[in-house]
Symmetry: C2
Subunit: 418 residues, 2 copies
């Protein structure tokens, strides 16, 4: 362990600011079995914060992989009722969910896409409306990362295990704003406020569409739904509990109109999808739908993602991230969306977030669709931001307002320090 | 890892002989999160043996302890329905269960007994008849042990971590009959046959009662139920699958009559109960019930065990184990019943095994009770065998047949080598 104090600060941040567990609440922690040492710190912190019960749902990459390798599509498609019942029970108790990720990318490399899709489809069908709980922020949830040697090897393949781990740990603490002599909770409060300020300005403009362009070949117009809401930093549950769903987060994100995306977008970073790492890929949209695409590596995975369902060929999220964000400045490619999405502007194929639409959280799927939101069993972020990204906002009357120049906000408001 | 090959042999033994997973079967593995490396070997072996699905139920001693320490009795008494539903689902699918133990003793030292009992009671009530599945051998199950540093520290407190672990690993492999140059599955087949032979002789005699005496102060008469069945080694499910519930096992065990136990028994080894280690304890029985008892250490835990319910003050099992068994010869006190019960003759307070009664598996609780079997939410083994243990069998006509002299079988049949 590099520095025990930093891990304790990270656990405290995740518990008290990230998922913000309340007195008497049930907390569900999801984590890999081999980081039990850290989960113990988290569980202790959660009880001390007043949790009534902390339940841990363990997973193991290698065992998941063995299951996919040996089980049939039919077997993988049978998701038992108790899995749904467990989730329903937790939601009825207003549980909150903390997911700690520490796994290396590419864990399902070589596994038949059809099997992965079969399980995903069965799982989504079995869970049904229960997926709305986190999607609509009906309860607190948080995803936070922990360095591991396996992950470090993938990120710094040229280094020794020890050096790679040190470097990954160092950068994860840095971008999580956890330092030896700071108060991470105070840092995150200030950062949440800065993101809220950018969102407020964007919301006031109510842009009809955004236009993205850069030297990588992106030339894309993303129409936004009417009465959209830009969201960034933390969220608030219907019970009034403020929480940070992602640590770190650097984005302001919004809801694209499912029929109003046109042009070409070129990804600027690889995408880790279903355990594969897709590289050098691009899409061309017409009226919201991907009509052409290509990839340099793992093209079949990209095909599978697009073919998953009708909604997986349309956008569900557009997000603005300054190229000077801490994750971007680190220069590290984490092969994990939690971090990599905070290095650059990004889009997501698939399901939209109803919170990005006025009254969306209280609408049913059909109503969200009618407003231009997208639905899918997937929600896959991919990065396309670059140092020279230019973003313009186009208002209903045709006025053009510069939002990004040279990869950073120019829409006004004070720059955040830190 | 001391010797990778030995661990692979142990995993294979547990999967193919212990729980004997069948083609197309669901296997549930229960294990501590920090032995994920070994669980991966087990899961791989199980899929290669033809399992349709291997599901892992992880646990962590420290997190369990935190839960007991912080949760209220009321909170611990709420066992959700999904826990029952999960078990019911698995039993409907004819799942088999492999429990891998690696934890040190005393994990719940200092925890309020009332809390532990509250959870145990709630769990037993929620599970109800589902507990019969393994109790009545309706499906295969197996408990096997794996050495861990934490456990080794408790067993060999004077040694360095490395030395202690080496010693514990060495003895666990030895008593599990796993050696570099042997075939553990063949060893266990031969051993199962030897135990079956002793059981057959005991069954032919249909003793009315057993009389135990030794120099430690034990002078105890244990009446047996009529039409009892001595069981040892492996068992067979109603579907005809042979399995070994315990690796290792050295015992031939039977069903005491719940009202016909009289005299004093002095324990010869400590008992690890609910995470406490009870030492130097004894009981005096009258007509089946403990009427007097004492303990040198953790006496409160012993009180709690006896007070748990009406059946926890009566015997549910009597077992004969030669003092020259491999576990006994090792001279090691494991602080774990899986091993320690195989070092010496033992008794269990609490629930009986219906398989020890002709037709018992098909009886309901009331019928088993009517035949003299015992019921309880507990089943706690404790050791009382010694090097000078003498056991006589008394037949209905008063004939006395010597069963044990000087701690070993004298009832006839060939001695087992190995």
């Amino acid at each position: 362990m590099v520095n025990e104090k930093l891990y304790e600060k990270l656990a405290k941040l995740a518990v008290r600011k990230g998922v913000n567990v309340q007195k008497g609440q049930l907390l569900v922690v999801k984590a890999a079995a081999d980081i039990a040492w850290f989960v113990r710190i988290v569980v202790k912190e959660a009880y001390e914060a007043g949790a009534e019960e902390v339940s841990v749902e363990w997973r193991d990459n290698e065992i998941t992989r063995l299951g996919y390798a040996h089980r049939s599509e039919a077997s993988l498609s049978l998701v038992p009722d108790w899995v749904r019942d467990r989730e329903a029970y937790r939601q009825e108790k207003h549980a909150c969910f903390l997911n700690i990720i520490s796994e290396p990318p590419g864990g399902l490399k070589g596994i038949d896409e059809a099997k992965i899709n079969a399980y995903q489809r069965a799982y989504h069908e079995k869970m049904g409306d229960l997926l709305n709980y986190t999607m609509n922020n009906l309860g607190q949830w948080c995803v936070v990362g922990l360095p591991s040697i396996e992950w470090a090897r993938a990120v710094f393949p040229g280094l020794s295990d020890e050096e790679a781990f040190e470097k990954l740990a160092d950068v994860i603490f840095r971008v999580s704003r956890v330092e030896e002599d700071n108060d991470p909770i105070a840092e995150w409060k200030a950062h949440d406020n800065a993101l809220a300020m950018y969102c407020q300005r964007l919301n006031e403009h109510q842009f009809k569409e955004l236009h993205f362009s850069n030297s990588l070949g992106t030339d894309l117009t993303v129409g936004l739904v009417e009465n959209h809401i830009w969201v960034g930093g933390g969220c608030t549950t219907p019970q009034g509990v403020y929480f940070d769903p992602n640590i770190p987060t650097e984005e302001c994100f919004c809801m694209p109109h499912r029929d109003k995306v046109n042009g070409k977008v070129v990804a600027s970073r690889p995408l880790s999808y279903n355990g594969k790492v897709i590289e050098d890929f691009w899409f061309r949209f017409e009226n919201g739908v991907v009509v052409e695409h290509g990839a340099g590596k793992e093209a079949q995975s990209l095909d599978a993602l697009l073919a998953f369902d009708e909604g997986s060929r349309r956008l569900g999220e557009v997000a603005l991230v300054p190229y000077e964000s801490p994750v971007s400045l680190s220069g590290v490619l984490f092969f994990n969306t939690l971090y990599d999405e905070n290095a650059a502007c990004h889009l997501a194929l698939g399901r939209c977030y109803p919170e990005n639409l006025e009254g969306g959280v209280d609408m049913d799927k059909a109503q969200v669709l009618a407003h231009g939101g997208n639905d899918s069993m997937q929600h896959e972020d991919f990065m396309f931001g670059t140092r020279d990204m230019k973003v313009d906002g186009v208002k209903a009357d045709g006025t053009i307002i510069p939002i990004f120049r040279n990869g950073g906000f120019v829409i006004g408001g004070e720059q955040e320090n830190g």
